[in-house]
């Protein structure tokens, strides 16, 4: 009876139950539906293509339609990456030197509820790679996608990812990243998660080599009955490693957001620097956000800090803006957008801030202007 939990969960039964406790209902509801295998050859409508056909990523874009690589929509000729596909359908992207790739996962609804699975392994052997991962879809019959990724960042290499989860209300996505970060290497991941019926994001990162670094940042901005469950697990397994987790959550309506951030410093990982901060904003009395920072330290000379807050819009800030003439609705929107924007302040590829902000602007719970 625990079909989906067994499939998507990791660890033993207890760990799975614990990790999914806020999303069991959502999983059960999905279990009660009959899903067929999704059509990987579904036609992608023009409007959907326009959402990801960014001029600046032409020539380094791979498009997956319901989990299946679509050769006609993809062109990776200038990406600097080598793509290999194994017999079981898993893809490996290998970067050496400078490279960039825009991975698009298009959820195209067909006549009946459908699901897909995909696996992508990204290896950065040297140099610096930029990866944009974009999840989009069409509204219609339910689609349940599952994406399993492995990021292997070799010693001295650098991977920067930007994930845009921009799903219609009929799409659910379960995405799991396992990242291994080598000595002196860096992994930066920025997320904006919006929309969807249910989204579950796991990042399981190992700071495996000395001086390895991770910066994981992001935002979820939820409304209606949206439900997003984010788990960031970082393990410091070597000396002088650094982690910086920063998350912002906004929930309106009856939305539900979960941010579980856990940082563990293993024995021997001396000199680690671990930072975990999450701030959350509730815009409705029926919305709920659970923010759980967990810090476990078994090493010496560790610098660690963590903080989690869940609150409402700052009344003083709202009054300050209004006292300067900004109308109430606009003042609220300014504050909400500003609150989220802090998570993007350090995106390295500045040309990505545009898409991030546009996505948020489209999804932020808009406060309607009072009619006059």
């Amino acid at each position: 009876m625990d079909g989906l939990l067994d499939e998507f969960g990791s660890g033993d039964a207890q760990a799975r139950a614990e990790s999914w406790r806020y999303s069991r209902q959502a999983l059960r509801a999905l279990e009660q539906q009959e899903f067929k295998g999704a059509d990987g050859k579904a036609t992608v409508p023009r409007e959907l293509i326009e959402r990801f056909d960014w001029p600046q990523t032409r020539g380094h874009r791979l498009v997956f339609v319901n989990g299946v690589l679509d050769a006609a929509l993809s062109d990776a000729s200038t990406s600097g990456a080598i793509l290999e596909t194994a017999a079981d359908g898993a893809h490996t992207l290998r970067f050496a030197g400078k490279g960039a790739m825009h991975l698009v996962f298009a959820n195209v609804a067909t006549a009946t509820p459908a699901r897909w699975n995909a696996a992508v392994h990204v290896r950065v052997d040297s140099g610096k790679a930029f990866l944009v991962e974009q999840h989009v879809g069409t509204q219609g019959a339910d689609v349940l996608g599952a994406l399993a990724s492995q990021f292997t960042i070799a010693d001295g290499a650098n991977l920067q990812t930007a994930t845009l989860g921009d799903l219609p209300g009929s799409a659910s996505l379960v995405r799991r990243v396992e990242a291994t970060i080598g000595a002196g290497s860096a992994f930066g991941a920025t997320h904006a998660l919006c929309g969807g019926r249910f989204q579950r994001f796991d990042i399981d990162a190992q700071l495996a080599g000395a001086r390895a670094q991770i910066a994981a940042r992001g935002v979820f901005a939820l409304r209606g009955r949206e439900h997003v469950d984010v788990h960031l697990d970082v393990r410091h397994a070597a000396r002088d490693t650094a982690s910086d987790v920063l998350w912002r959550g906004v929930a309106d309506g009856r939305a539900r957001g979960i941010l579980h951030g856990a940082i563990a410093v293993a024995p021997g990982a001396d000199g680690a620097d671990a930072r975990l901060q999450t701030k959350n904003l509730l815009l409705s009395p029926h919305a709920e956000i659970d923010a759980q920072p967990v810090l476990e330290i078994y090493a010496d000379e560790v610098k660690a800090s963590h903080g989690a807050t869940v609150g409402q819009l700052d009344e003083r800030a709202l009054f300050y803006l209004r006292s300067r003439g900004v109308p109430l609705a606009a003042a609220r929107n300014l504050l909400i957008a500003g609150f989220c924007r802090e998570a993007f302040a350090r995106i390295e590829a500045t040309d990505l801030r545009g898409p991030f902000e546009a996505l948020l602007d489209a999804h932020l719970p808009q406060q309607q202007q009072a009619s006059e």
């Binding site: 009054f319 006292s323 900004v326 109430l328």
Partner: protein, 255 residues
């Protein structure tokens, strides 16, 4: 012409009466200084005039520019020319200063039926006003007041005032925390804006500011009321004798 007329104003904050029958009249072109001990209700008066939630007028009335001020939302008051320079300006991380100021100015202009300024016109105006206050342009590209020093926050308030060109400006201890040079810049900024159709309420603890911004009237606010009013010389006498002197004079007068 009377711009602001406060009559027998009683204000309650968090269930406690803070203003207890305050009356004050301000005419266009005048500068009024308000002094008074800590906790007397000076900032409360500023907040009530600007329209902060939770500051409930239980008695009395405020007429501003011929209208019942208490009927107006804070943004409508701003559009009608009311401006409060906060004693403690609020830090708003993530909200860009320039963006905020343009939104504020254009919202006010729109509410008054004036045309909105485009980016070029706005920047030109901003540069003019920055020069007066010797503020660095990079402050504008930062988040509103976030990480500003105490003095920078106060100067930013006056910069906003210069940009928004209000009719009635309330300065709540804008001089506190300013170094001598900044104090002069702020005073210059205010003096440059003195005009027959504009009035100022200057809340301060220090006579020093009033050497630079010479008021037409000085009032003492104590325990929620104006207990003494006079000309600029009143501030000098207060500096010399302290507030106890007023209380004693009142007692003597009553006897």
């Amino acid at each position: 012409m009377t711009m602001l007329k406060i009559e027998n104003l009683h204000v309650r904050v968090a269930g406690k009466e803070i203003l207890k029958g305050l009356s004050l009249e301000v005419k266009s072109g005048e500068v009024h200084a308000i002094m008074g001990p800590n906790g007397a209700g000076k900032s409360t008066l500023g907040y009530v005039l600007a329209g902060r939630d939770g500051y409930e007028a239980t008695q009395g009335r405020i007429e501003y520019d011929g209208r019942n001020l208490l009927d107006l939302e804070p943004e409508a008051r701003a559009a009608a020319g009311m401006f409060l320079a906060f004693q403690y300006p609020v830090e708003i991380p993530g909200v860009n200063n320039t963006y905020f100021l343009k939104a504020a100015l254009n919202a006010q202009r729109k509410a008054r039926g004036e045309s909105e300024l485009d980016s070029m016109q706005f920047l030109k105006l901003v540069r003019e006003k920055l020069a007066v206050l010797h503020l660095k342009e990079d402050l504008l590209n930062r988040a509103v007041n976030a990480g500003f020093s105490g003095g920078e926050k106060k100067r930013n308030e006056i910069f906003q005032m210069a940009l928004l060109e209000p009719k009635l400006a309330i300065l709540d201890e804008t001089d506190s925390g300013l170094d001598i040079d900044a104090l002069k810049m702020v005073a210059d900024g205010v003096n440059a804006m003195r005009a027959p159709d504009r009035a100022f309420l200057v809340i301060t603890h220090y006579q020093r500011l009033l050497d630079y911004i010479v008021p037409d009237f000085v009032h003492v606010l104590a325990d929620g009321r104006i207990v003494e009013s006079g000309d600029a010389s009143l501030a000098l006498r207060l500096e010399e004798h302290g507030y106890a002197w007023i209380a004693q004079r009142k007692l003597a007068g009553a006897a």
